[in-house]
């Protein structure tokens, strides 16, 4: 029964495919998987927008959307209809083809990333040997789309927003990759399914998630920071800092193209959270050994939603950084610390079992954190924001 619940979607797929002739079965299975992804994640996206608006509302002491449907939960549908029916305004000086291709390219690249995410036991569209690499390759491709959008709009705000976004994404992509490399070093594989399987073990009732190791915790924190920056979320949402740049690179987009950008951004957030879940939070594995009776996909999506919640929480809490602070933070704190984390991971890997490696790794990371924090706070460009008031 448990297995049935766990594998319900896989069995459904097999059952549907079995009606077809043998030659078509494999393409059909893939098609079904694609359809699943294309349906499920945008649905989550729709849900997330409502949650985000309501959550931000709670944080800012207001109600949020509450008019459409019960408790305002039909809001995304209304938004979708509005987007689809709105006029698609293209600036006259805009570079037509590029302007059109940018949102499409973004959404395609983001959707590609989901192909390698294991959302449950045996639930991965392509179990690729180099899955992690594929994911990052797709993530890197989104930058071109962002640039295209900003440049083709022929708008200074858009271009500046695009340049900021690209610079930020490139800077934090390095961190993102390096913090993931720590996991790869321990697992010895780039395959995401293997990474999850490596974490799907229990000592007593506690799981072997990588976040429960010193290097994993540090790596996860770095990963989370980089992921926030990579998806241009607050507090790293400078590229679309509306007070300076109107709306950044998608200022000149409206109607469904804008909706695609919106979708692309949220899907990127979902996919990067999914990857973080997979790498550090044990993917679809249950948090405690006696909870394994729940279906694996339930755990994956629960963790995913938790991450989304944290994203929303941060957006409601933290103020926006300045561009130079952002860059300094990436190159002078996060990157060195991630490199140190790699070193510590290697130590962990080769120090063998025992308490010693826990102590050594924790002490190194803690000391580095404290020292670098102190040093960084001393630096002018880097420390707490100082306000200058008009005299």
């Amino acid at each position: 029964m448990i297995d049935k619940a766990d594998q319900i979607f896989v069995l459904l797929q097999h059952w549907l495919v079995s009606f077809l002739p043998l030659a078509l079965q494999q393409p059909a299975a893939v098609l079904l998987g694609v359809i699943g992804i294309v349906c499920v994640f945008p649905a989550i996206f729709a849900l997330t927008t409502v949650f985000e608006r309501k959550g931000l509302g709670r944080i800012q002491n207001r109600l949020g959307p509450n008019r459409v449907g019960p408790f305002g939960f039909m809001q995304p549908i209304a938004d979708a209809i509005k987007s689809l029916t709105k006029e698609d305004v293209v600036p006259s000086t805009a570079n037509g083809p590029v302007h059109f291709l940018a949102p499409v390219g973004l959404v395609v690249a983001v959707f590609m990333g989901f192909a390698v995410l294991p959302v449950g036991r045996n639930m991965v569209l392509v179990d690729m040997d180099a899955g992690l690499l594929f994911f990052f390759a797709m993530g890197a491709s989104t930058e071109v789309s962002v640039f295209m959008a900003g440049w083709s709009s022929r708008n200074k705000y858009s271009l500046l927003g695009a340049m900021r976004a690209v610079a930020q994404m490139i800077s934090y992509e390095v961190v993102l990759l390096l913090s993931s490399v720590a996991v790869v070093m321990i697992t010895g594989s780039l395959s995401l399914t293997k990474i999850v399987e490596a974490q799907n073990q229990y000592t007593g009732i506690f799981p072997h998630w990588y976040i429960f190791t010193p290097w994993g915790l540090a790596g996860f924190v770095m990963y989370a920071i980089a992921a926030t920056a990579e998806t241009n979320r607050s507090p790293f949402d400078l590229p679309e800092g509306e007070s300076e740049l109107v709306a950044g690179y998608h200022t000149e987009y409206s109607g469904f193209k804008f909706a695609l950008f919106f979708l692309g951004e949220y899907l990127a957030m979902l996919s990067i959270s999914g990857l973080g879940t997979t790498l550090f939070l044990g993917g679809w594995s249950a948090p405690l050994s006696f909870l394994t009776f729940m279906p694996s996909w339930f755990w994956f999506f629960s963790k995913l939603m938790m991450s989304i919640f944290v994203f929303i929480w941060m957006r409601g809490t933290l103020p926006r950084l300045r561009q130079d602070q952002l860059m300094n933070f990436a190159w002078k704190f996060v990157l060195p610390f991630t490199l140190l984390d790699l070193f510590v991971t290697a130590l962990w890997r080769f120090m063998g079992q025992g308490l010693l490696r826990w102590i050594v790794c924790s002490v190194i990371l803690l000391a580095a954190y404290v020292i670098m924090g102190r040093v960084a706070m001393v630096r002018k460009h880097f420390g707490p924001r100082r306000y200058r008031y008009a005299e």
Binding site: A130, L133, A137, A140, S141, M163, G188
Partner: protein, 166 residues
């Protein structure tokens, strides 16, 4: 020699041609991105998954972006009045076609003489990793040095000269 190959090859060549021929530099950069992507797809069609993804990651994710940045920083997106091609473009094209002719001729003449294995080589990422830190560890280390030097060098070359003599 499947349809897919011809399709990808066509995309790649088209991207390359566009990159060379388009007047707007940013269009060129985007076209070359397509060419890079096409090459990556060719790699994938050659069962070189790892190389293909690395190609995407490095070329589309980094080099293309770098090129775009360079274009914008040098105000290259404005089309110059006196044309984008050098006055001696004809000789350039002639030389390029001569090179292609010679190489194509060489390929056609010799390719049938080379033994070919049709079997898909079974190479995993794990094997590549082992080879990188095994027999190729020295090049790897040198490469690391090179990349560091290149990073530092690029930063220094492109850095604003403070209080320069300009």
């Amino acid at each position: 020699m499947t349809v897919i190959f011809y399709l990808i090859a066509a995309i790649t060549v088209a991207g390359g041609l566009a990159a060379v021929l388009l007047k707007n530099l940013v269009h060129c950069a985007l076209a070359v991105t397509i060419a890079f992507g096409g090459i990556a797809l060719l790699f994938l069609s050659l069962d070189a998954q790892f190389a293909g993804f690395v190609q995407i990651l490095v070329y589309i994710g980094a080099v293309a972006i770098l090129i775009v940045f360079a274009i914008l920083l040098t105000r290259g997106s404005d089309v110059p009045k006196d044309g984008v091609f050098s006055p001696t473009w004809l000789t350039g094209v002639a030389i390029a076609s001569a090179v292609f002719a010679v190489m194509g001729w060489a390929v056609i003449n010799s390719v049938n003489a080379i033994p070919q294995l049709a079997a898909v080589p079974h190479v995993t990422v794990h094997d590549i990793g082992v080879a990188l830190v095994g027999s190729y560890v020295l090049p790897l280390e040198i490469l690391a040095l090179l990349l560091t030097a290149a990073t530092v060098g690029a930063v220094i070359v492109a850095m604003h000269e403070k209080g320069g003599s300009e």
